[in-house]
Symmetry: C2
């Protein structure tokens, strides 16, 4: 049974604590604010009103034994940095720290946080990318070393069905969607191009001239395919 | 050439504006804070010091013609809600609004924002899921209505190869990875289970007893599969 600690019940910390608890994990939640502790008392395993910069107090709370700790005390950069350092010194295996500015991000990196998240910046990048490419996929890294990208299909598979193309065995990647452009007449009787995306296309779907394919694969296989 | 408006240069808004500009889009940035406008003046196309609740002022700035607008004035819920409503009334095609609380989120939905983001909550869910499932995939929504999830394979495909299982045509989903547990002896000579994940497995890979599969598909198809 996984056990986690969440330090700081701001909006991010509360979201982490709730999600972990809903999925059946043990969660120790720590915050100085009594009201937050009371509100989350029946959501998490233990909700403790403590100052997490107090090393003795958090040790007594069993923080050294958790599988991972999330430090989300937000705007108090000094507390966030101090707590992160304390946890790594105590030997907590995996520490996620939330940054609230670029400078904060850099400091947390140097202190050895195992992972740093910056929700406002990361979500901003994601929203911007989805505005530029609205139909689909965040072109995100789905797993370390694996990406989802959109490319022109290799010449030799144009005109073939997914089944005939044998993309997995030939290129080591998997086609998860096909994007086509169809000429249409718009409201003003003007000729226009409309995009259609078939996600998880059927095995007999044909890859046509002018289509692009959205594939998942290892970075080096994607590099080779992109040409 | 895509043109966007970003209203509110907080950390989220700045991140959206920078990313859009880096990718070559035209960006009109609006904020009341002179210092922020000055700092971002050479990053975006136009950085304008305006109060975005002033309908005349933002109309004069050309806000009606943008492809999409992002409302990220943050903590001032009243301004955020008012600006979102103004933009939709003016006929701005696509409005993304940033929520700062659950209540704010609900209000923005009722006002017709086309998309609402809540960075702290969304990143919290993502971090929690990746702590529970550290090897792989954020179980993210890869496209509207499509997800990547991990499930036990349906009984009838256990023992079959990917090719034989014909998962696309039978279930409408695509297997992008197979996760297996292998018994190993750990450092102390103790019997332990080690996880192995094959991403983009070959067509002849067998789905074995005890394996889980990571699939992409439409929400209703995934629901049906999860049983
Ligand atoms: N030393 C501390 N020990 C324990 N909890 C703390 C400490 N300092 C701050 N906190 C708590 O951390 C929580 C988050 O802090 P704050 O609201 O400043 O961050 P935030 O970055 O705005 O959060 P979010 O963006 O996630 O909403 C608060 O509930 C606060 O009481
Ligand atoms: N009426 C308004 N018109 C234009 N800009 C505004 C208005 N009200 C607030 N802003 C600007 O919006 C920006 C973001 O506001 P604020 O910092 O309160 O939000 P936030 O949610 O903390 O931001 P973030 O979390 O993205 O850092 C500020 O730079 C502020 O000057």
């Amino acid at each position: 049974m996984s056990q986690f600690a969440v330090i700081g019940a701001g909006r991010f910390g509360e979201s982490v604590a709730r999600t972990l608890s809903e999925k059946g994990s043990d969660v120790i939640l720590i915050d100085t604010d009594e009201e937050k502790i009371r509100d989350l008392d029946d959501v998490v395993t233990h909700a403790l009103q403590l100052d997490a910069t107090d090393e003795k107090a958090i040790k007594a709370a069993g923080i050294e034994d958790v599988d991972a700790a999330v430090v989300s005390v937000g705007r108090d950069m000094e507390a966030s940095v101090l707590i992160t350092m304390l946890l790594k010194e105590m030997g907590v295996r995996y520490v996620v720290a939330k940054a609230t500015s670029e400078a904060h991000y850099k400091i947390l990196t140097r202190l050895g946080a195992d992972r740093i998240v910056f929700p406002e910046r990361e979500t901003g990048v994601k929203v911007a990318n989805s505005l530029i490419n609205p139909t689909i996929f965040d072109y995100l890294e789905v797993a370390p070393g694996y990406n989802i990208i959109e490319i022109k299909p290799p010449r030799e598979i144009v005109g073939k069905s997914l089944e005939e193309a044998k993309v997995r065995s030939t290129y080591g990647v998997d086609i998860i969607a096909i994007k086509s452009l169809h000429p249409v007449l718009d409201g003003a009787g003007e000729s226009d191009l409309e995009e259609e995306v078939k996600i998880v296309p059927a095995a007999d779907e044909i890859i046509r001239e002018g289509d692009t394919i959205i594939v998942i694969g290892a970075e080096k296989d994607l590099e080779r395919l992109r040409g």
